[in-house]
Symmetry: none
Subunit: 204 residues, 4 copies
Amino acid sequence: MDSKTKRHPNPERAEARRQQVLTAAADCFRRKGYHSASMAEISKTAGMSPGHIYNYFVSKDAIIEAIIEQQMVEMFEVFASLQARPGMLIDVMVDGASEGVCNKLDPALASLKLEMLAETARNEKIAGMLRCVDAQARQRFMAILQSERSLVKGEPESQLQARISVIFAMFDGLLIRQTLQPDLTSDAVMVALGPALRALLSPF
Amino acid sequence: MDSKTKRHPNPERAEARRQQVLTAAADCFRRKGYHSASMAEISKTAGMSPGHIYNYFVSKDAIIEAIIEQQMVEMFEVFASLQARPGMLIDVMVDGASEGVCNKLDPALASLKLEMLAETARNEKIAGMLRCVDAQARQRFMAILQSERSLVKGEPESQLQARISVIFAMFDGLLIRQTLQPDLTSDAVMVALGPALRALLSPF
Amino acid sequence: MDSKTKRHPNPERAEARRQQVLTAAADCFRRKGYHSASMAEISKTAGMSPGHIYNYFVSKDAIIEAIIEQQMVEMFEVFASLQARPGMLIDVMVDGASEGVCNKLDPALASLKLEMLAETARNEKIAGMLRCVDAQARQRFMAILQSERSLVKGEPESQLQARISVIFAMFDGLLIRQTLQPDLTSDAVMVALGPALRALLSPF
Amino acid sequence: MDSKTKRHPNPERAEARRQQVLTAAADCFRRKGYHSASMAEISKTAGMSPGHIYNYFVSKDAIIEAIIEQQMVEMFEVFASLQARPGMLIDVMVDGASEGVCNKLDPALASLKLEMLAETARNEKIAGMLRCVDAQARQRFMAILQSERSLVKGEPESQLQARISVIFAMFDGLLIRQTLQPDLTSDAVMVALGPALRALLSPF
DNA sequence: AATGAATGAGTGTTCATTCAT
DNA sequence: AATGAATGAACACTCATTCAT
């Protein structure tokens, strides 16, 4: 990837400029969607000329790819912190779920993520990236489910994979709920999501 | 509304042509996304000149709106058949879930629905339509949860609403799972989705 | 011209149909202008299918050409009636002017004529027709100015031609006045047009 | 209003470019008419890409509006110079008329103005602008007719308004004469226009 | 490093015209 | 004689991208 973009004599300044673009672009994609957000708008939001953006990103597509990469990093941190917390998994998860729900119900994040997911159907590169990060997330979750702290550690792997898919679906589905029920609150959801999560983390 | 579309002296032929367009458009939107699918491409897929499409739809937007309307009808039929089946709700639902899962995991439908959901962020009319149909679906589901056949009929309405949001999220999330785990099968999902659904349809 | 249009076994019926189209087209051109009036609209106004119009006119241009031809005929009738009325020319003209003014100030006719005049710049055939009819009108007017009943019959022809050009300009200019001063009434104009006309029909 | 057109850091260059477009557009409208002159053609004439024009004008309509605005400015200058010249109005006017006649008989200007007048029937904004500038011109002319230098200063206002309408009609009508009698010269017209103008500027 | 002027291919849409029926 | 379904070239306009400065 490095070879695709210009060399920048002052790497710190360059990185700051790159960040400016990413932040501005995420903001625009969120508000308008990927295709309706123009480079002109992004450049204005980033406080930079349109031409200059191309010194940091080879194309508009490269921008959304970079945003996805950033989100991958953030997500891994979430998993790491999950693993770091003490106590039985089921309690840690249910306690932590509230935060995850808030995250999925944040309208700004939700529409950006839906946008990226829709892009998956058209853009093989984005599809590949999103599938890769999702596969890694499931793998990490699997490790957690098979750890000592889990109530289901002895179950067959295929069953655990099913649990993971459904848990992920439940959380991912909140992105869609946010879009269709904009008034939905995290607390309201947790009333039912907690018990469902308990069921999915206990032996059937 | 009548005045917006040309009168067609031969309604059968016209309806067939309309369907041709809808089918072709759904196909293109699925493969390319709403914005990247051009009218030229849709017209070629439909075996018709670009200009002629405008005898049946006033705009590209009107096409996706018609597709959504068709899906609304289909969805209401699903609810009707759900209500028509005898037995306790929990059994009917869990038995019927498999079919619903298959539906959500159909790659063609999944990417089209995601596309429409993403469009929600840019297009207020589409947002309105999707939210309206979703609200009706939740209302119908509420009626079912409060019927005699339900194990949770006495629970407070707010709690039932939470259950509904989570159940819907779980199913909607399968659209996203399909995109990220294209190999996911309905059977594999059902292993964990069944128990989760049982939990969500029983008193906590 | 006959060879350009289909033979019609029943010429009366055909002529009636042609008239229907001309009337409808004049109406549409008036309201929308030549370029903004579509064949679809004209056909609807004429109570006839778009395709059928092409049995009577080879193109949209042919329709406006036919309208111009009709107006030529009407205009010659005006000159004939002018010559037929008894009395000194100056009185006949000033008395008859009021009617001519009304005609020029009729908003329906005014916009159609302006439309045709504008078309002159783009369409050589229309330009030719309009110039031809105007030349004939000036020639007839010249004959009147040189008749016994005229106060200026002895003046040099070039001077008479100047008078004609200015008189015609004054009337033609009312088309433009109508457009720019839609409230202008025939009576109001006559207050000043009468004296000007007297000056133009008397020795300088 | 500022927000409607891009900011141009180099206003001189931008103004030059704008002028290039206006000149090219006036030329194309004149030759082809407003609707038949395509943006592609205008851009080619202006030596600029079609897209770039939209950095200076928000739409094709905005171009013709700008042309009209320019002509308004020019016309006001004519009135100002008329008021500035010394002597009795009737002499000033008749002397100055020749210039006005030349202007109206310039084929390039004539067809462009007719084009704009025809557009009036379809485009309310253009109609409004042209009527506004015409109303102002008549108002200024009224002030002149009521000044000390006028032979008709004591006449009733309604009568003066009639005079103005007829004088304006006579000049406007030259636009149409130019179209129908392309060979007409300013000198030939003045032979009769002078006396008519004298009549219109003297008590009846 | 940074600008923004400039490009041109591509978009959704319209409409005069044709032709099978 | 008459229909209206069907065409496709043309249009105004947008926008990712390039490049001279």
